[in-house]
């Protein structure tokens, strides 16, 4: 039985008073104050959650001239023939298998069409959601987030750190995933919370997301 996985900010969240829970083999914050309040804050102003447990697969290769498609995952274009695929941890193996089943070329001189590297551990992943999230990002990055449509992505400096910004709205609520190299996680988390203070930004735990999912 492998040990529980630690998200990058586990101890920082503990110090901030978070109650922890186990989520797909990861130890994550369940809530910081209480779930309903966090969800309401998110809907009214903005919330920041730690979704570092999300599976992230880095895909490169000549076979990626078109976006890869595999079940319950999202794929984000990071460059020419370079994609990031994100999914919930339980779907990881199935999705990786489906990606690998990419039809190989009959031309044996060609290299494999696709290389997959699991980069789940490489990134800290935060979800900034709520009506004020765009204004908060405007204090952190030069990316024109107003021009970033749902399911669009951009790579940019955010809080002085190279970041991948993925927009994935929670129904009507604008929401942005911010991915930074894991070791910068705490620094960027602090910077987002600081920038969001004037807009009423609060951290939320996994339970608030579940609450939102159930309430809607």
């Amino acid at each position: 039985m492998p040990p529980t996985r630690h998200i990058p900010l586990l101890h920082a969240h503990e110090r901030a008073g978070a109650s922890l829970m186990e989520h797909h083999g990861w130890k994550v914050p369940a809530y910081f104050t209480w779930a309903q309040k966090e969800a309401e804050q998110m809907v009214r102003n903005a919330g920041l959650g730690d979704l570092s447990f999300m599976t992230k697969l880095d895909l490169k290769g000549w076979g990626l001239k078109t976006p890869p498609a595999a079940g319950a995952s999202r794929s984000w274009s990071l460059g020419p023939q370079h994609y990031l695929v994100t999914c919930e941890p339980p779907q990881r193996d199935e999705i990786a298998a489906r990606l690998r089943s990419f039809p190989a070329s009959h031309d044996l001189s060609l290299p494999p069409p696709l290389y997959i590297t699991d980069v789940t551990s490489v990134y800290a992943q935060f979800l900034l959601a709520g009506p004020r999230s765009r204004e908060i990002l405007g204090k952190l990055t030069s990316l024109n987030v107003s021009a970033l449509e749902n399911l669009g992505c951009g790579q940019v400096s955010l809080a002085h750190v190279h970041s991948i910004v993925l927009r994935e709205d929670l129904r009507e609520l604008p929401a942005f995933h911010v991915l930074v190299s894991r070791e910068y996680g705490e620094s960027v988390w602090d910077a987002i919370l600081h920038a969001g203070h004037e807009f009423g930004l609060v951290p939320f735990g996994q339970k608030a997301l579940e609450f939102l999912g159930g309430a809607a």
Partner: protein
Amino acid sequence: MADNSDRFTFQFDGRTIEARSGDTVASALYRAGRRIFTRSFKYHRPRGLLCLAGKCPNCMMNVDGTPNVRACITPAREGMTVRHQNAYPSLENDWLSLVQRFDRLMPVGWYYKTMTHQWSWHAAESYIRQVAGLGVAPQPGGGSKDYEHAWMHAEVAVIGGGPAGLQAAVEMAHDGSPVVLIDDQPELGGHLRYQKRAGAVASALVDQLRATPSAQIISRSYCFGLYEGNLLGVVQANPHGGAIERLIHLRAKRVVIATGAYEVPFTFENNDLPGVMLSTAVQRLIHLHGIKPGERAVVVATGAPPDEVAEDLSQAGVELVSILAPSEVIAATGATHVTGLRTKSGELSCDLLVMCGQRVPDAGLLHQAGGKLVWNQDRGAFLPAELPANVSAVGEVAGAWLARAMPLPPERVSFHKRSFVCFCSDVSTADLRDAMSEGFDHIETLKRYTTLTMGPCQGRMCQLAGIAICAHETGRTMTETGVTTARPPNPSVSLGALAGPRHHPFRRTPMHDAHDQSGAAWMDMGDWKRPRYYKTASCQSEQACVEEEYRAVRERVGIIDVSTLGKLDVKGRDAGKLLDKVYTNRFSDLKPGRVRYSVLCDEAGIMLDDGTISRLADDHYFITTTTGNLDFVQQWLEWWLVGTGWDVHITNVTGGRAAVNLAGPQARDVLHALTACDLSSRAFPYMACREADVAEVPALLLRIGFVGETGWEIHFPAEYGEFLWLKLLEAGKPFDIRPFGVEAQRLLRLEKRHVIVGVDTDALSNPYEAGMAWVAKLEKPDFIGRNALSRQAAAAAEQRLVGFIMNDASLPQDGAAILVGGALAGRVTSARYSPGNGKAVGLAWVSAKSSAAGAEIEIRVNGGTARARIVEEAFYDPAGDRLRM
């Protein structure tokens, strides 16, 4: 109009000041009777309100701890704390105003004239530093307030919220284009706010703009620079309660400059006395704040402009003594406030002198953005002629409604030491004359020599007068004299706003909290936090701790967090080909399960980085880079890959892999307790790698030895970082394991004579002179740097990186000079006390002719010299037996 029913108070220099809603700090203080608002920069002369528009330097104060805030455009807020600056003990009684008695000793350019010997500056510096400058910078961490940065994108940016800017913004936003309007005043409307006859037009335009959804108004903000690509630097004051200022990086496809025009003063003796005011300032006091500006006023003006001002004054109940032409005025009189006026036709008594001065287009932004300014004699102004692409100018800044108020250049200038041109740094007409007579008669040299236009107002008050006087004195026209080059910032901007939030990114390894628990003494390595050493109960000093850690590794077992190493995952059929091309060593023939060390050179043969490369499978390599060079190495590899068509894919996995180095004679025993992997030297020899579970965590084990003992570098998923670190410490307990820090590691590697690229080598170091010839495989047909290296291999070395051991107990510092026969012969790159040798050992660059093994050198230590001997081989285990045990 100020609302009388809504009153509140704030503090000024410990006194309570009553303010009304709509008041600025300056208007509230003026109503409360204050007339001196600041003391001047050089002579500490009393200064009062002059422009009341944020254009001049005369009302800069410390507001809530922030220095140099323009009180006249800062809205008064309940409970704010305002303090004077640049005067001691008070504005009324400033001891430093004695300086002006000695003005003969402080001629223009007096630094250059008096500080002619090195000692004179040393003698004067501390005194000058104390009295010079404006305001006092806030102490870092002294408050909860912060400076902020933000970014915005717009189709059109309009600078200036006067009638022209409002009109432009309304028109541009009409079709739904995103328009941002920047205005530096507390409220929109520009001069329509206080020139009351047109007031209704302003509010109608403001209402119209506010009702336009695509228009965004940023009030109380000014644009200090217009840069390439239409990037605007905008500083917004107090965007919210927690911020002092916000710097907005605004990108706009088009920029409309509607900064309008401002009024400038006339030059005559004592033109800087409190009570001598611009007419627009008087109108602002009357119409915006309902303040009677004085009792008896003299208006100085030419032609028609005074009519409206005279009417405003009489409506406010001010007695109008006289209206005079500027040429009539000789001097204002009074000690700390104007009490009268000496004119060609006699003395007049007054307490207010109103100057209807020349209106000057606020064209600084246009000019610094690359626009050309051309003199227009009719309008008496330098007007924008050629504008950069996608920049336009509208309204007064473009010359609309302007008229010349006096002859330019002037027919006569009264040169007097108290006739001020520049209010920021006390440059008088006499100073300008003196500077020109000394030969500084070109407007650009005149500016640099006198500091004219270089103060906080960035030439707003003085530029036109300076040019006019220069033209007059040299007999040139205004066009021939020209304007000085405008550069950002325009106007001055606080360093805090440029620096931004006190947020510096940092990088933490997955084991950070565990190190904290173990007593880590932290050091910064780039953005990384790394334990330098661990404080324990058993050691008193850093040196004692480092030595304990050292002994643990040499005698038992130690463990260090090396997660900061750059880690690149390289996949693809042609991966070996790329590594062969870029690294000096050969990798295509490396067998899976083996590790090889290499350096990376540029085409000049200079070593850029080093690291180990492990082959995990035929088409899969794992590279480590030095901590600081990860980005460079990845970019270097990608660069050489471009255009090759090779099947190579590089992924940076640095953050995703925790890494530790477990080393020491008992490292195998510790690791054995946690893994089923066969760790014997037969199954897992030196420079081999294996993938295996350690405490159920999937890991990559590299058997390498930077510190010179049997050991493994263990790379594993970062989410298990703390778990496995603690597991290894637990498994090491029976062997008295010690975590060790960077300092012990540096000592351990130095004894092994292992080079740190970038510490022991620099931008002139090639592998041959560094004693690493073996790492360059010149027999490879091609690799980056091969051509240069093959020439270096054949050439005689000029200098060599050698090891040395001290003859006595002294310890040289890194960088210490090396002497041979009294002449400089090199320098130390690293030196440490080596417990294994009982003396300090080190690495040094020494000229080749003095670098023979056994040769004696002298090293500068503590001001004297100490002797050392050059050693060819490693200071510890030269045969490397311990690595292979």
